[in-house]
Amino acid sequence: MLALLRGDLAHPTAAPGDLSLHLYFGALVLYLAGMLAFFAYFAYRQEGLRRIGLALVVPGSAVHLLAVVFRGFADSHYPLANMYEYSSMLALVAVLVFLLMTVRYPVATLAGGPALFVVVALMGVGFALYQSPEPLVPALQSYWLKIHVTSMMVASGVLVSSFVFAALYLVKDRSLNARSWLHESAASLRLPSLQTLDQLTFRAVLLGFPIWTFGTMAGAIWGEHAWGRWWGWDPKETWAAITWMVYAIYLHAHSLQAWRGRRTALIATAGFVSILVTLYAVNLWIVGLHSYARGAG
């Protein structure tokens, strides 16, 4: 960590963008180490390992926050204008929300390894899509950027947790099948009960879904404000609606006793895939009005 920052500390006048990137890597390293500690905690159930994990991830998120702040200085605007910045903040929110969930529901700590794995993966994707700091194009020069994009990002960060718990539900469910290779494996024995995993997934969706709803509405209001139309079935808008529908399906299915369980876990997993398509695939492979988010103008 310090080795990464040595150059920046020696030359404090260096570009804040470089400093930000080094902090980003610092956070990534801490998350990776924390992920290993949490996996070890899962395997050995030693309280000390959990503390080591927290002692790595909590400072990691502080370093990550600094990376975001310095990126903002480098941009001289709110740093949420391209996919690198989006991935960075998304990963940070995912970490913070997960940590908060472990405070409220301590059993969730068992999912720390997989949750940090997703976070690290998101940060890896973010780095693969790295862009140097750039000024904002006129379409993004609006306070709606902060309202709309932030809420979509926060909702996605919250729903990362729901995905992790739903995926673990599916693993646990599989392991209960006597013919499965996971049957009576360490992983299956130590995972929380199916009901707990279902409730954790549900709680995360309960938090994320209204934020996604708000973000989509804010996007529609921004569309009306900037282009004179609420909705134009632009690919980004359409995928935001598809994701919304998947989570609406989840909530309806979850209220049906007969559907609660493996089916709802599958739907929650599909919801997260839909989020990834909304955030990444649409920008990378589908052209639309939101293509400025790629930074190409």
């Binding site: 709606w144 598809i242 909530l251």
Partner: protein, 426 residues
């Protein structure tokens, strides 16, 4: 199932069978099926699936060229997709029918939920957090109808139109003056005020990305100026319910064309299409002569051309050395046929001269036609719209979001879990 229940079912089924005709029984069954939660899930899934198709296949409203390319590449599947309306999914009967069924399903379930909640609400002991969550959930679902009303009313009583205006020019807010316009059935007359673009300005970041573009718009109504405002993206102008939005911009060079006998047949700014560093446009001068003596120019404009070897390449977006590359054609333009003002069909036309003109340059071609690059302006693309449904949509958003939050979180306050949905809905 208890014996009594079985008997009751038997009696109900047999009396229904005896007293009701088959179509009515089918409709009744459909109605009962429609209001079930499972049906809602199915309909939501179909909508999501169709929406996915709408992003994977190119769509006519957003990307007509893409559709043409797709049809050429897939001669076998494309006609079938077209028959199903998949190239314009969101207007297809499949999508609309599913959306209508979805709304019917919400409405049908309301007919069960509202009376049930009403009955519960009359008993004080039953007004638990779970009950209020059910009320909030009903309000949330009802807000979709309000949203529908707002959107449909806004579309029906409003309009949206695009118009390109050269700086200094004025257009009147009237049906005939839009480049394209979509109106609703109750749009009624237009406001008839004047929109003048005093000037247009654009600035760029060093990267070449636009930093800001702004039209100084002056609204005159009944002969006097009522509003002057800088219209830029994210900052519209609102006058009498009509909003003026900045959307795009482009170059409008003026090329004066004078015939050998000294008549000026073209001398107005012409809107060019394309990116700021490289735009192209067409000037048609049918009055240059009769029949095959008409003139037309196809031109490329570069505000900042760069020399790359022997070739000229587009450079930056700002006018450092505005250059017009001109091709002058002579022949019958066939203006009696419908054609695009932005393109020139050069088949049957005779290329008479080609060359480059800097701003202010003048040249006389061997035919004696005099071409002068007299001026350079910019034009601005404006969108004008009227949407009287805005406040209804905003109200639907606010009510829907508030009710959604209450319906999701109130159950957590009580000891009971969320209320199970009424049995007829599962």
């Amino acid at each position: 199932m208890s014996v009594e229940a079985r008997v009751r079912d038997y009696v109900v089924v047999t009396t229904e069978a005896r007293t009701r005709a088959l179509p009515i029984r089918l409709l009744g069954g459909l109605w009962r099926e429609l209001r079930k939660m499972r049906t809602a899930i199915l309909l939501l899934s179909i909508l999501a699936l169709l929406a996915t198709v709408g992003t994977l296949l190119p769509q006519i409203p957003q990307n007509p060229r893409g559709v043409m390319g797709y049809v050429e590449r897939h001669p076998f599947t494309a006609p079938w997709f077209a028959r199903l309306g998949l190239f314009d999914v969101f207007s297809s009967w499949l999508f609309i029918a599913t959306a209508v069924l979805m709304y019917t399903s919400i409405g049908a379930s309301m007919l069960v939920r509202v009376p049930a909640a009403w009955r519960r609400g009359r008993v004080k002991a039953q007004r638990t957090w779970g009950f209020w969550a059910e009320v909030a959930s009903i309000v949330f679902h009802a807000s979709f109808f309000l949203l529908l009303v707002g959107v449909v009313y806004g579309k029906a009583a409003g309009f949206v139109g695009n118009v390109a205006v050269v700086e200094g020019d004025t257009i009147t807010e009237a049906r005939a003056n839009y480049d394209n316009l979509s109106e609703g059935v109750w749009t009624g007359g237009h406001a008839g005020f004047q929109v003048k673009v005093d000037r247009f300005q654009v600035s760029y970041w060093p990267t070449g990305q636009p930093r800001d573009f702004v039209s100084r718009v002056r609204i005159t109504d009944g002969g006097r100026t009522v509003e002057t405002r800088d219209v830029r993206v994210n900052h519209y102008l609102d006058y009498r319910g009509v909003k003026v939005y900045q959307t795009g911009y482009g170059w409008a060079p003026t090329l004066r064309i004078a015939t050998p006998d000294g008549r000026t047949v073209a001398d107005a700014p012409t809107m060019f299409l394309g990116d700021p560093p490289l735009a192209n446009g067409v000037i048609k001068a049918p009055s240059a002569g009769s029949g095959s003596q008409q003139l037309a120019v196809s031109a490329i404009f570069m505000p900042d051309p760069q020399l790359v070897g022997d070739a000229i390449a587009p450079g930056g977006p700002t006018p450092r050395l505005p250059l017009l590359l001109v091709r002058l054609y002579r022949g019958n333009l066939h203006l009696d046929r419908a054609q695009n003002v932005y393109s020139l069909d050069t088949a049957g036309l005779d290329l008479r001269w080609r060359g480059a003109l800097r701003l202010g340059d003048s040249v006389t071609t061997p035919d004696g036609v005099r071409l002068t690059f007299t001026g350079l302006k910019q034009y601005t693309d404006l969108t004008l719209n009227k949407d009287p449904g805005v406040s209804i949509v905003l109200a639907a958003f606010a009510i829907g979001l508030g009710a959604l939050l209450l319906s999701l979180y109130l159950p957590l306050l009580g000891r009971e879990d969320r209320l199970a949905p009424p049995a007829t809905l599962t």
